[in-house]
Amino acid sequence: MLFGYAGHTVEINLTTGQVTKTPLPEDLARDYIGGRGFVARLLWERISRGTDPFGPQNLLITATGPMSGHLVPASGKTHFGTKSPATGGYADSNMGGHFGPALKYAGYDVLILSGRASRPCYLFIEDETVELRPAEGLWGQGAITTEEELRKELGDEFKIVTIGPAGENRVRFACISHDFGRQAGRTGVGAVLGSKNLKAIAVKGTGGLPVFDVDGLFGKGREAYEKVKAKPGFAGWTPEGTAGITDWVNEVGAFPTRNFQTSFFPGYKNINGRAVVDRLKITDKGCFCCPTPCGKYGKAKTTLGEVYVEGPEYESIAMLGGDCTLGSIEEVAYANYVCDELGLDTISAGGVAAWAMECFEQGILTEEQVGRKIRFGDLESVVYLLEKMAAREGIGDLLAEGVMRASKELGQGSEDFAIHVKGLEWTGYESRNAPGMMLAYMTADIGAHHNRAWALGHDVAGSAASVHDLISAGGSKGKLAKASVSGKADRVIELQHIRPLFDCLGICRLQYMELGFEVENYEELFFLVTGRKMSWPELLQVSERVWHLTRSFSVREIEGFGRRSDYPPPRFFKEPVPDGPNKGHFLSKDELNTLLDEYYAARGWDENGIPTDLTLRRVGLADVADALSAGK
């Protein structure tokens, strides 16, 4: 028996309606653990080279981990994976909430969606019952409204994921939404659901999970809660959640501002965590089994109206606040709500809107093309752009393609400030004086995303301090010296194995990364859940295997993939930061190449960033090595 897991994979062919349930393969659990590992392996095996991300052959895979749904701190994580419509390469995006645990209680670790339904429908799962139901009445509705409607119809026990109009219209950065404010935001997973004519998935599970040592886990789980509560960061982190990092990021000059023109937003105190708590918050809103809820649910009133919204979380503050330069937390919250209801990833959507506003400033986009005047700092401009892109109306059709494709089409130098890597828009950390963070963005497998390796703390403090310790110590009070680029690769690689390991286990990394909850706790909890005795380094080896596999997937799928896919936009290696703590700094192309040279060598990849045959065999990917050398 596979302890910890629900024990089954369920696949729904949306073209035929056929439902296939199979036992979870033991070797998959052994070699890839769960979550992100399952997604990576199944995408590699099941997707044929050259698959169109919006074609019926593409898969949308939902995977939980062995620790999802158990009495373990923050066990609410769920992974979604697909071939990305944003990058054309490997994609996954995870979310918290309650959906993954519900899927496991229903009996399934993995849910695979293939094909395309002939008309809008939603997937209904109640334990053994798995069926497609019509959703014509929901098509066109917002993501939040759809969840509300389905919950009214089915009841509170159902845990629901939905897409909004952006997903239906195949906006390349549409998200999957859940629990009125949680999103699997990145890589366009929502657009793939839309391409399959699937509006929502509703799950109710009433079964229990097999546990290797149930009494031991109950005891250790309770103890883990006590230990987390005793961490110095517990009382400091929870009140503001991720928004609490806003001040520090500005003080160290890493806050995206005006489409990353600069890295410091003078009005940051008006959009920080304190502002969220004082001016918006109704309640803390946590994910399943999480003692440290990041989610702040509240109400915001603006000139455009009043909205209820979860957040804004730090990333939305950075991309809608700093990057679009919205000056008050109420305005950021309003734009956040608009994204949530339309089903847009706040990160990419904020980045795309900021890029459009800079294009307008420079005369590359005209009033006639856009349909009105747009400018940074204007809520109406931002909301107009969000609505247009979600509907693919007018200028929105270009913007819905994301900044890489849109800038390629528009030209006139707009590529230089299209802030992305591999086609995925950059997230909330400007990195022109943070070489570790820059390298992390350059080499993240899904594109410019921060949560594979958050190396900014290491760049700033040179240590492995927890995020809470960093914030407590405070940022700089003046101008910062230029950071050295050497010696970054090892730390970035270490981080790229740690955080994605949590994504395999099916739990949130926050207690470890942000509060410093020790890794030994996870070794023991993993053993009590699964009965497998694995040390932390052994678990990290699985994470390393997955890293080489996801790189190999993109090598297989993207023509010419390699070093050229890893560069940031020219703005970051040509333009010095104009003001703020990092005034004057940037990383030259030579410095970027130094970062990549060290990284590829440490990874066991060739000079073009392709995993070598030897490396793939060393990490247990002989079949992948064979396939790549055969050009398959």
Binding site: L71, D156, D179, G208, V214, Y225, K285, C290, P291, Y308
Partner: protein, 129 residues
């Protein structure tokens, strides 16, 4: 002793439901817990904790006298219970639960596992005999 809910402290993590099922059934299964967390979203945007306050309405409704006060908690005698579920209908708080794997309803035993695990102090075990 009795359980008390402080609704505004709840963040909806449902660790209480897991702990309840573990304490009473040794199962990792929140569907077998004897309390419920309701998220009221998108409006008004808060949580409500549904707890048993040992009011005894279930005992009054039981035609078999299978529910009786033991100390401070009304407990179901599973040998006497015929599974008619009249108690479930009678519960004013909706916290007697039915599960396919059990022949009798699931009711709070006042074990305190929910209060002990709650990291927010949203469920309190209060008072004394």
């Amino acid at each position: 002793m009795e359980l008390r809910a402080v609704h505004e402290r709840c963040s909806g993590c449902r660790a209480c439901e897991l702990a309840c099922a573990l304490a009473n059934f040794r199962e990792m299964n929140p569907a077998k817990s004897a309390l419920g967390i309701e998220g009221r979203f998108p409006v008004p945007g808060d949580y409500r904790i549904h707890l048993c306050d040992q009011c005894g309405a279930c005992a009054e409704a039981c035609p078999e006298d299978a529910i009786a006060l033991h100390g401070e908690a009304y407990l179901i005698d599973h040998d006497l219970c015929i599974g008619c579920l009249l108690c479930v209908d009678a519960c004013p708080h909706g916290v007697l639960y039915v599960h396919a794997s059990t022949e009798t309803p699931i009711k709070c035993t006042l074990c305190g596992a929910c209060a002990e695990i709650c990291p927010r102090g949203a469920i309190l075990m209060e008072g004394g005999a």
